[in-house]
Symmetry: C2
């Protein structure tokens, strides 16, 4: 019998308990042993719960039970989750967590502690909800030299961007709808300002490139400045605007993690990921590219990922799956955001497609940039997108358009992967 404890009985924690009892027979078959929930830690009382006898308010009770071999942490926030998980690992109890803030902040420490005590710290649920991405990245794609990862890692912002276009809504109206539907918090900053996506790309970047990437080191731009006109222009250009969290390795070996709204042409399958779905595209020398797509949040999807880790930890509790990275104390392996070489989607408040295209082509030809340009008529002016160019060239292009009498009202980076 393998007993596991669930820390926190909110949305995710209660989902873990629900999913376990629903699919217990299958889960025990996969784990190769009987399993049960030993304890549920929560400060609140749940007298009417069918699991009322399992609740405890004391972490020490859980730590003192030698039968507990795995702990599922679904509390959120850095503390007390961090202290509790360190106590578990110190005793050789494996942990599975859905807590992206915790891993983005303390991942290197937790993983080192797990290694030192021959147990596992799993965090599949911290990125991409139901989407298996951490284990595939680390294990299935282990033979690849991974050069870049691009993702739609926040379902709330993806829903808002979708709704703006499909229902002709302003950002504010779409945000209100997302809040009414329970997809967005009343205080929506973590989602709409990109912090949630930032934590997730930090975890992916740390895992793929081996050094802890802190959220403060990542240029993070949310979607507040994306207008309905931008979304409509993207649509006219056969693409969409998506909040893209990305990390790529530059030629000098440094990495460039970033969160920002980007124009994604429809040739890229990420442009087709709608609503509250998330997706992650991985580029490697063996696979070329692979895309993983699914529900990025929600009770049962996130619980599925946590429970998958719990089963893995229970089944292989003598095998340490080292997926770790070091915290060098430095962030000098991270390049400045202006090292990003990419195209621009440009929208103007005057001129027509011919004048915009001609001005862009002239600039490109004069500056050695591939002059392939797609353009479309938009309300009040024109829009186009260019091929990739460096930061100085982007600025020079905007200056050249200004000099040509064109009023550029927005310029979004283009995802050309």
């Amino acid at each position: 019998m393998k007993k596991f404890a669930v820390l926190g009985y909110g949305t995710v924690g209660s989902g873990v308990v629900e999913l376990f009892y629903k699919n217990r027979a299958k889960i025990e078959q996969k784990a190769g042993d009987r399993m049960d929930v030993g304890y549920i830690l929560d400060l609140r009382d749940f007298p009417d719960s069918p699991y009322a006898d399992k609740f405890t308010k004391s972490m020490d009770t859980i730590l003192a039970d030698p039968e507990v071999t795995v702990v599922a942490e679904c509390m959120g926030g850095v503390e007390p989750a961090f202290t509790y998980l360190m106590q578990c690992l110190d005793k050789g109890i494996s942990v599975a967590t859905s807590n992206k803030e915790l891993i983005a902040r303390k991942g290197a420490v937790l993983l080192a502690e797990a290694k030192a005590h021959s147990c596992n710290c799993f965090f599949e649920a911290s990125v991409g909800g139901a989407i298996p991405i951490i284990r595939p990245l680390h294990r299935c794609l282990a033979a690849n030299d991974i050069s870049a990862v691009y993702g739609i890692l926040n379902g709330t912002t993806n829903f808002i961007l979708d709704k703006m276009l499909s229902d002709d809504m302003s950002f504010e109206a779409a945000l209100s709808l997302a809040q009414a539907l329970g997809y967005a918090e009343r205080e929506p900053s973590a989602d709409v300002d990109g912090h949630d996506a930032c934590r997730k790309i930090c975890i992916i970047a740390s895992l793929v490139f081996g050094k802890h990437v802190y959220p403060e080191s990542v240029k993070t731009v949310g979607i507040r400045e994306v207008s309905l006109a931008d979304a409509a222009a993207a649509d006219a250009l056969d693409g969409s605007v998506k909040l893209i969290a990305s990390v790529r390795r530059l030629e000098d070996g440094r990495i460039l993690p970033m969160v920002q709204p980007m124009f994604v042409p429809h040739e890229n399958i990420l442009s087709r990921v709608d609503g509250v779905f998330n997706a992650v595209m991985v580029c490697g020398d063996g696979i070329d590219r692979a895309v993983f797509c699914g529900r990025g949040a929600g009770k049962l999807p996130t619980a599925s990922a946590v429970m998958g880790d719990v089963i893995e930890a229970a089944k292989h509790n003598c095998t340490v799956f080292s997926q770790d990275w070091i915290d060098s104390g430095e962030q000098d392996f991270i390049a400045d955001a202006d090292m990003l070489c990419c195209g621009l989607m440009i929208r103007t408040a005057n001129g027509d497609t011919a004048s915009l295209t001609n001005a862009v082509v002239d600039f490109c030809n004069a500056n050695g940039v591939d002059a392939s340009v797609e353009a479309a008529v938009v309300d009040g002016g024109a829009a186009c997108y260019t091929t990739a160019m460096n930061h100085a060239q982007q600025n020079a292009l905007l200056a050249a358009l200004h000099a040509a009498g064109l009023q550029v009202v927005s310029a979004l980076p283009v995802l050309d992967a």
Copy 2:
């Protein structure tokens, strides 16, 4: 030092050797040990290969070397691959194979042998090439009750269907192009008649539902009968025609595996999977749905999957990852193909959208079927697709359309997931 052997130095086998030496440092870091290719088994001579000293024509040489802990089988075909792998497993040597024919035919036997000798038989590369699907299905999604899997599992047919529409080609012309580009064999039956996709869905069905599903038990229809007019009608109806390999569990507990061309509306992301890419959609009670997409074939993509398994086997060579199924000797858990409940995409050689829509709606209303119908004008007639109905209703609908004077020239099942 972990030594592994590669059986077969064709496209995949040579890719495994190439990828290993290219990314050796990363791979050894993941494996936690030095690694090297000990032997390459091939009946041919490669005197100019940089690995000339590793070639052998004798399986016994490999089996006699106690340092070999993993064997990567990239020969294809059932024999002698089956005999060789049984010999390996019998000695406790783990195996990783890209051989879908072998696993579809002998999976249950190989997996039981691995279990009996405390080693692993991995086969990630046998389905979906570079796409991590076997391990995610079995491990990451272990907490789910999986109800269905739908996939585009053959890149050659997907390329042909794409080309027919995008370049206005007949099936024959698109096949010739695929052959010229090296995507299709000179003898294309395994691809275009659906046998390759059938083997892959057999492997997935066996893994997910726990009993060996043999290719002969699976209704398999290829793409020879799909016309350019069908592809154009699908496009007019905002969807595409894809060769879908699927397995779903019916309410009576039996499963329904199938390979056939289907109409996929654009709401379903599978309709957007283009060219030689493959994709797999998994439906489960925890995740709702998750989609995995990537290159389904090719030298390095397939080698990436084989090498991922080799690393896993080398790293965890004392841990047995039971992913097995039983061969009950019966196939009575498989339902008849006419149990499939689905909509139809209908194309006519006469009439207009109004007459077709009216006839379909009248039929649906008279038979208790949801009467939502999408229709479009096509060359020479009209096309539409319906909501799901059972086999008897499908036949009755076609009879009703005939009675209404409409000449139905094709009727394709609709993927409504």
